[in-house]
């Protein structure tokens, strides 16, 4: 039985209102499920808002019971109805659900950041901070790259934690559960951020959900990883699998040496990942190359650097198919400030802020074929009957200019 402090007991008994009581009840059940001995306070939270039915149902339930967040969380994107209504006609039910969700989260005290990469901008934890982060691509980033401590929370469990200000002490909050379980020797050169997408996707298929310690043997820069590459790695490991933390030998804070990473002088298991492994997974998950109807980037939200790379390719040209780049609002404003947004719009493209690909605002693309750089984007939109060719960001951009994905387009333009 989990041991509660006096305040936590009072929360459970309803002394802080019914909403807080509901949240604490759920957290106690989670604590019991994982045999957590007690609760610990959190300093940050991120809630994977989605305005899907379960999300709206749960947040409205807590709000109706008077819950208020003790730790104000940042939130995931839904869709930007003001921007999207200029591109397509939105159904009033869909807009209504977005507004209701917005309203409920504001009432409960969330910060309406609408971004799936909060760890890069508005919610950045420090090493050893105990936090509650949902969003499966955010959890591995904060655990692995920053050395903060969170379990792989669901949207609802993170919201409960934001309300009570505590989480059960178990899982990845404990040092011994964060140790590496397998040494992954990456033999591929890993020249592009896209290679990290493929690596992230293929790894769980090969080794299951063990905590990997990456050794990038043939990567030229061993101490320089772009935000996008690490973001991609974590996002894809949690699409084909369920991996809340990873280590990079000689780079991430808990892996300065092999002994550090494995918390032992012994490496329990080893595996090699080759360029062929990466190529084979792409062939398996991508739609066949050929003509496309649109390009959709930003799952997770593109960084400014990524948007700049796209912009360089399309500057002064005309896109053959619509291009939608999803990013955070601060990134979009930076693009506006820097003139990047204007260049994209002149080519016929769009930056959409606060928006996720897994939202009903993309109905006008259902049944069509697009190009993306994200396996995660292709995976979750299966339910929405969208088909994607998956290729690197540069090639995907060239494809949007031509209206067709060919295998080796890059060379024609260099």
């Amino acid at each position: 039985m989990v041991k509660l402090s006096l305040t936590e007991k009072q929360m459970l008994d309803g002394k802080f209102g019914k909403g807080t009581q509901t949240a604490m009840k759920i957290q106690v059940a989670i604590a019991e499920a994982f045999d957590a001995p007690y609760m610990v306070p959190i300093s940050r939270a991120h809630v994977a808002l989605s305005n899907q039915e379960a999300d709206l149902w749960f947040v409205e339930k807590l709000v109706s019971q008077g819950a208020k967040c003790k730790i104000r969380p940042t939130v995931n994107p839904s869709f930007n109805w003001e921007q999207m209504s200029q591109i397509t006609s939105l159904s009033s039910e869909d807009v209504d659900i977005v507004r209701r969700t917005d309203n409920a989260y504001k009432k409960i005290g969330a910060l309406m950041t609408y971004d799936c990469t909060p760890y890069l901008q508005l919610n950045v934890p420090k090493v050893n901070d105990v936090i509650s982060y949902s969003e499966s691509s955010a959890t591995p980033f904060v655990n692995s790259v920053y050395g903060a401590k969170t379990n792989r929370e669901s949207a609802q469990s993170a919201l409960c934690a934001a309300v009570t200000g505590v989480v059960p002490y178990y899982g990845y909050l404990m040092k011994e559960n964060r140790k590496g379980e397998i040494l992954v020797n990456v033999l591929a050169k890993m020249d592009s951020d896209f290679d990290f997408q493929l690596l992230g996707y293929v790894l769980p298929l090969k080794i299951g959900f063990k905590i990997p310690v990456f050794n990038f043997i043939n990567k030229e820069e061993k101490r320089n990883f772009s935000n996008a590459s690490l973001m991609n790695l974590g996002a894809q490991m949690n699409t084909s699998g369920n991996v809340a933390i990873y280590h990079i030998l000689g780079y991430t804070p808990e892996a300065s040496t092999l002994e550090d990473a494995f918390q032992s002088s012994k490496v329990p298991e080893e595996v090699d990942i080759t360029q062929e492994d990466l190529d084979s997974v792409r062939d398996k998950i991508s739609a066949p190359i050929g003509k496309i109807d649109f390009a959709l980037f930003g799952c997770p939200h593109l960084t400014f650097e990524q948007i700049e790379r796209v912009t360089k390719i399309i500057a002064g040209k005309k896109l053959a198919v619509p291009l939608f780049i999803m990013s955070s609002d601060p990134t979009m404003r930076l693009c506006e400030q820097m003139g990047v947004l204007k260049t994209i719009e002149e080519a016929g493209g769009n930056i959409i802020s606060n928006t996720c690909m897994d939202q009903p605002c993309w109905k006008f693309l259902y049944g069509k074929k697009g190009v993306t750089d994200s396996p995660k984007c292709a995976y979750y939109t299966k339910r929405r009957k969208m088909e994607f060719v998956i290729t690197d960001l540069e090639n995907a951009t060239y494809s949007a200019l031509e209206g067709e994905v060919t295998s080796d387009r890059k060379k024609q333009f260099v």
Binding site: A29, A33, S136, R152, S154, S157, R383
Partner: protein, 141 residues
Amino acid sequence: MTEKSNLFKCHKISEGKTSGEVLFSKDGICFYLIDPESGVVIERNHSLFGKSIANKILVFPNGTGSSVVQADGMYQLKMHNMGPKAMIVENADTTLVASSIIMEIPLVDKVDSNFNENVKNKDILEVNAIEGEIKLVQKGE
């Protein structure tokens, strides 16, 4: 068959008591990639592709999928009465645990090791996720 192999101890995660037909999945389950109106798995390359999990006692190794879609998939299945009656999992993760507690679907783990030898698809089980017990009530074939 002895009485002993009809009864399996387990660890309660999400409370409840129910009975139904058992369905094993070799692969992890992403509830979002199950059609909420029929309970049919729509994920290609999945061992249950094309099969319905509706009202089954679902036995699977782990959950897969993002922190959002697991809860929503489960919620929609439940709203259409197409969800699993109970779930028996090998490796429980936070998302699966939180979703089943909130959606009030019974979930257990740490089942006796002889469970897999004694229980097959189509058998009828009684899952008591209050006491932490699973009973094999009837063999399928």
